[in-house]
Symmetry: D3
Subunit: 272 residues, 6 copies
């Protein structure tokens, strides 16, 4: 069960309204790697967790924190939209500066949301649950989480560069710090699990059922062999169980497929 306190986790107060920036900031609220994504992903991973208690507890700790990040961003966006000049003004059409502002706004911020935040991204595309994963395998999921925090911090940093509003930057500097922690946190949790289970997910699949002759081979399917210069093409593999090798000229090993004709009730194109 959950409880709410009125104060935000951190200050969220812009120096001045900026409806064009409000549109952009939606990306890290309701986008693919926005705060709603990590909130939902961590909570569902926690609720579904069938592993040791410390993982469940940790997932619900961070999932609960992320609700507060969603709250901060929504609050910030609502304030950035204060008094957006969306009203018809006889002379607006003649003033390119006002037109430019309005061209850069998301019109739904005024028409649909009445100058409030929405659970959409910066293109106005709604958040959806396929942005998240809860697989039941924590090593896999922690890699999803590390990715989400990496993409997320990258996006927040880019947004930091796009404003000089001191209040906005103050809040972003907090989110950037939390994303640093969260990258560190997932790196730590991953290290723990990799040490126990090994590096290949899932570790419990019996590898004798795997075609291990190609489990360490880099296949050069595109012209040029620059790819041979990478760590992935030679040396001991990262899982310590094989040697990377490089196939400069991989060949097709399968059949030239021919499909049977469909039965008559399918009304497809006949074979001949």
């Amino acid at each position: 069960m959950f409880y709410h306190v009125k104060e935000l986790q951190y200050r969220a107060k812009p120096d001045r309204p900026d409806p064009v920036y409000a549109k952009k900031l939606q990306e890290v609220l309701g986008g693919q790697y926005g705060e709603i994504s990590v909130m939902m992903q961590y909570l569902f991973q926690g609720w579904n967790c069938r592993a040791e208690g410390k993982y469940r507890d940790m997932l619900l700790d961070i999932g609960t924190e992320e609700i507060a990040h969603v709250e901060m961003l929504a609050t910030m966006i609502a304030q950035l939209l204060d008094k957006a000049p969306v009203e018809e003004q006889e002379n607006a059409a003649k003033d390119p500066a006002i037109e430019a502002v309005m061209g850069g706004m998301n019109p739904q911020h005024a028409i649909v949301n009445g100058l409030g935040a929405s659970p959409n991204d910066s293109a106005g595309y709604p958040w959806n649950a396929r942005y998240t994963i809860s697989s039941g395998n924590l090593l896999a999921d922690f890699r999803a989480n590390l990715n989400a925090e990496s993409q997320g911090r990258l996006q927040v940093v880019r947004l930091y560069e796009q404003t000089d509003d001191i209040g906005v930057r103050d809040m972003l500097s907090f989110l950037i710090a939390r994303d640093s922690m969260h990258q560190n946190q997932w790196l730590a949790a991953i290290a723990e699990l990799e040490e126990k289970e090994g590096k290949v997910v899932p570790s419990t699949f019996n590898r004798q059922y795997e075609r291990t002759d190609v489990s360490y081979t880099f296949m050069n399917c595109s012209e040029g062999q620059e790819s041979e210069a990478g760590r992935w093409a030679s040396g001991t593999a990262m899982d310590g169980q094989g040697q990377f090798n490089y196939d400069p000229n991989p060949k097709a090993q399968g059949q030239n497929p021919t499909l049977n004709p469909a039965p008559g009730y399918i009304h497809g194109t006949p074979k001949n």
Copy 2:
């Protein structure tokens, strides 16, 4: 530019049709972590790559290989659908076994696709581009790729457990091996970049603009302190630049937000 040869990268031939399994196998073709996702993700990362040549080459190598995986799965699914019993049969309704098969099929395989594969997942939900990311920061993106290969191998392994068809298992054993390689590959590429750049993405943001007082603090936002037992709560942080610490009782530091009333032309609920 691309070229195609007729033979599949590896054998894809089931022992017998199985339309219910065909529906399930769609997950790793057109699902969130299916082969279309990695194909598109790697190709776009390659085409957008502004970094060193070996990365671009490697991304296009693996992206091109993934098209062949999509091809193998599509071919397999079409064969699993051979002669699916979808025709009306006077007695079908009375035979629970046939009804069960048809209840477990995706009806679109017959009605829409004429017993062919489709770019959808196992719930019939269409593949979409928000499953992919190309951010311009390769460390972030390689973490996305490692996650995709981890979730992908996990799903293929689960599907392996759900069939005893020797031909299907043979093909899956190849895909599982390639996913092992690809996890190893991304782990190797990540190691290279982390060594050069450090572990926190993006490494180029000036950390003096970050609220580093909370960059290494785990916040215990949910009751119970099991989460303190993890590697993420104490010791040197994974980036080597700070010490993890644990806040058992994190407090809100921000304002209690109050928003200004909206202008009249918004027709919201007035403040009082």
Copy 3:
């Protein structure tokens, strides 16, 4: 079955083209609460109606009217797009006013629709059927309808404020009036049903199977007790069957959940 007459239900003729406004007006055509939504919602409720004849007839009356509203808006948008300056012009790049217009347009209006209306919202997001509901319970559905007409009129009013085109405002004044009627209409239909059935949907569920000890309790899950001041926290409940009460400090009553480990064939993270 349906018939069409050539004349629009009401005038739809702008004084002048305005491609930026055309983009905004798409919201009430193809948005979440646009005319396509109410058209489809009322028609499906009518076609699915298993209740008294007057409801089915009424639903098909209003559903049929809404097709005419879709028609008016599409016609208006096509005219607002007349001669949109989307052609390359050597000097356009140097004229911020033209750039502003084009920045505020939806580029699909030119590229995809050839200066025609589309069934999308003002962010270019396509209309989809999950905007509608037909539940088989008319009291529930009429509440959906009342909401749709309330959000719809609010959006049209906001759009009215954003233009001074007399022709556009004329058409909007008609739509605003119809939305007034339709709010009144659903209020009337709701009153009829509430009188017969009571206020809680569905009325036919045997309330002895409901945990009625919490059927009238407001739970104060967030800090602060301002919420106690509302009508919902004390007095007779609106259904006349209980007394509102206020729990200032609601407690969790359920278990601390622990899940069983998954079977081996799931390849999740083991419990220990």
Copy 4:
């Protein structure tokens, strides 16, 4: 900011696993009117609230409670999936009962989620943000909320009828009771606002700009006049500001639209 306690708001423990029912129960977790919808809708309405403090507080109270409902449903679904028979078994294909179970399951519960809940509906369609609204006009939004609780209670009641698992029914009886309260709550809040503002949303639009000649007219656009029998066709309108009247034969009042030809650079079909 938010805090979590380990105990669920109410018991969520099924008597026995039932993977087919788990699929159905997803509807009220991640569907159009599921608990994620109300959670997100109330939280965003609260965060965006520019009105009196008691409304903001109340919205955050109930929004916070809804997170706990999401948690209960996720927990229940994970338990319903315990030991789902998704492993290949040589004889499964011959046992129609097992095939039937598996035909009725969502295969993603095993393949993607490892026997965990997901933020999808009962057809496997992901939750998305267009299920919610936060308009800045509380009377409009409270009508959305009343509808959501009406559809929600209806769906939970239908699900109650589809199981005889005592543990499941126990949890549903709690959710049904809370939905009763929440319908009552929104009815009360609506009554408060309607008394202050009147019944037509938004109340602040100057009605002299509305074509009030059609603000109280029911238009009989479909054959047959059964619709005349309703409360909406005669008597004082619900807003008390007009008289309902019935137009048995509404006429088109607008122009027969003809559009200008598109400019050449559009390459449309020319007028002649």
Copy 5:
């Protein structure tokens, strides 16, 4: 403006309920090529039509007819769902036949729609507007329409094969006939326009700006030259303005692309 009569365009009455078939039939109601798609496509093409009057009139004729087809299918589906056995029954779990029926149903038909039709396809995926096109170029759009009627008739024919219900087949035989007419109709309209404009859309683009050296060349980008046997590889091209030719070994003519490094504020991976 539109009017409705109570009678359906054609009989829609099944001999008996069949909830599994109801799910399948949704495909041609709310699927990619279902009746909602053609209804919306033709109406929008008509409303946007800037060409000669007969085209606009024809488009609105057929668009209006398609609303009636949507109505027939919705009515049929509601009847196929009559008395679907979705209630819990103590013994249902033991009866594989009932389980099979319920496994093959769409659970939303009961939970969400109360045994009514919905604007979704046979996988429960909602209809969306990206299924339609209105481009402003009628030759292009009529080809879209011909395709829609071809896919549509194919799907209805497949559904015809999947039932032996005489009432259902009777209605489908009508829809199949109308789809025959509509294929013929679009073929006729296309022939008219092709005669006037030529066969390549759009006809108005000045072909001197086109790289006509590759306007008639088939490129053999995949191994094997079976494709040379087709009409498309030799002879006069269909537009009568060139000769088809076959390039057995097409070469890349473009650059090996290298991208500039991104500016620092993007925080991408640096070039070196």
Copy 6:
């Protein structure tokens, strides 16, 4: 299996960056009729092809070519985004020209993609698989393909008109030429199949089960008889098997539907 060469199929190099145009160009990369759509559509049609070998080979030829088109467009877009002025600049807000550029950009190009291309359309909407079809009936599918190439060429031509960048126009002139070929190609393939099978898809359905009394009748469901002037209203039908006729006043032939009440466990509105 597939192979890649480094060189693009054709030059893709703009004269100068243009981030606003980059947004527009996304339409023909990741839009409904963009190159991803035809790439995926042709590849899946090829992989699913159960007909004669020349069709499979041809489909894979063109599908493979389309991957190269996707590559060219992605490369072009990345270059158009070079040095997009998205960094905060103290004076940007005061310079309407810069604001206009940024208002016309897709903010995701900077925030999400780091100045790279994405698999989205010009409104930022992600590509999805429902844009494609593979039906198993090649005549139907080739009509889909002809439509896709017609819409595609139309969109590219419109984009050609919207730029004066010589490098961009050079690349578009190549794509326009290939679209000319591909329209010709599908026209040729369609002619072959129509000659063999006839013009109505599917040709294999026994027409005695079709209500042929309405298979050649144009129904005038909208007022006015301009539609009678078309080729579709009289003369021999295009399939050569009937005579077009025109029904100026089509009548409903079906029942006035009344539905049975729903069973009690559905909790709908009762019949009376």
